[in-house]
C-alpha cells in the first residue's frame, strides 16, 4: 500500500515535471522562430550573393529585414491587444496598436516600391525575402518534430 502510494506520487511528480518542461519548451517557440529567422537571413543572403549576385542578395536582405520587423511588430501588436483584453501589464493605446499594425503594410509597400524603382532585378529576391517568416516557422516546426521524436516532449 505504502510503496504503491510512493510510486503513484513519483509518477505524478514525473508527469508534472514533464508538463512543465514541455510548457517551457513551447513557450520559447517565438524566440526560437526569431533566432531561426536571423540565421536564415544571414545564411541565405550570403548564399544568394555567391550564387546569384549582389543585386538579388541585396533585395533578399531588404525583404528579410522587412519580414523580421514585420514579425516583431506583429508580436508586439498581439501582445498589446492581449494586454488590453486581459487587462494585465502595461496597456498600450488602441490607436498605437492600430497604427503599428497598418505601418507594417506601409513599410512593405514602400520597400517594394523603392526596390522596384531602383533595381527591378532584385525584386524577386525581395519577394523571396518577405517569406522569411514562413521559413522560420517551418524550421521551428521541424525542430519541434525533432524534439518530440528525440526527447519525447
Amino acid at each position: 500500500m505504502g510503496s504503491g502510494y510512493v510510486k503513484l506520487e513519483r509518477e505524478s511528480e514525473n508527469s508534472q515535471s514533464g508538463f512543465n518542461a514541455s510548457e517551457s519548451f513551447y513557450s520559447g517557440a517565438l524566440d526560437r522562430i526569431r533566432r531561426f529567422m536571423l540565421v536564415l537571413w544571414i545564411a541565405l543572403s550570403v548564399g544568394g550573393w555567391l550564387r546569384f549576385g549582389w543585386r538579388l542578395a541585396l533585395g533578399f536582405a531588404c525583404g528579410c529585414g522587412i519580414a523580421y520587423l514585420n514579425f516583431y511588430w506583429l508580436k508586439r501588436v498581439v501582445s498589446g491587444m492581449a494586454d488590453r483584453i486581459a487587462q494585465t501589464g502595461k496597456q498600450q493605446s488602441g490607436k498605437g496598436i492600430v497604427v503599428r499594425f497598418l505601418l507594417r503594410y506601409f513599410l512593405m509597400a514602400l520597400g517594394g516600391y523603392i526596390i522596384l524603382s531602383v533595381t527591378p532585378a532584385s525584386l524577386y529576391g525581395f519577394l523571396a525575402g518577405l517569406s522569411l517568416v514562413v521559413a522560420g516557422i517551418a524550421c521551428e516546426a521541424a525542430y519541434e518534430i525533432y524534439a518530440a521524436l528525440a526527447r519525447g516532449m
Binding site: Y26, S27, A29, S79, I85, A86, L127, S131, V134, I137
Partner: protein
C-alpha cells in the same frame, strides 16, 4: 429604403456601361487579360486573408476574454496564424509578379 436600393441597382448597372461596347466593328486594341485577372486575384486573396485574420483575431479575443489564464497558448497560436495568413496574400503577389512581367 426601396427607392434607395433601386438607385443603387441602377448605379451598379451603370458600371457596365462601357463606351467600348458602343463602338463599331473596327479592330480595337487587345485587352490585357493577364493584368485584369491579376488585379482580381489580388483583390480576392486580400479579401480572403482579411476575413481570415479578422475571424482568427475575433476568436482569440473571445478566448482570451473567457479564459485569461490561457494567454500564452492563444497568443502564440494567434501570432503564428496571422503570420501564415499574411503569407498567403504574399504568395499571390509573388505569382502575380511572376505572371505580369
Amino acid at each position: 429604403m426601396r427607392k434607395l436600393s433601386y438607385l443603387f441597382m441602377a448605379l451598379s448597372l451603370l458600371c457596365f456601361v462601357v463606351p467600348a461596347f458602343a463602338q463599331g466593328g473596327e479592330a480595337a486594341a487587345p485587352v490585357n487579360w493577364v493584368a485584369i485577372t491579376a488585379g482580381f486575384s489580388m483583390a480576392i486573396a486580400s479579401a480572403g486573408c482579411g476575413l481570415a485574420q479578422a475571424r482568427a483575431t475575433a476568436a482569440a479575443a473571445e478566448g482570451l476574454g473567457r479564459n485569461p489564464a490561457a494567454r500564452p497558448g492563444i497568443q502564440l497560436a494567434l501570432i503564428l496564424g496571422l503570420a501564415l495568413i499574411e503569407s498567403l496574400a504574399l504568395y499571390t503577389l509573388v505569382i502575380i509578379f511572376a505572371k505580369v512581367k
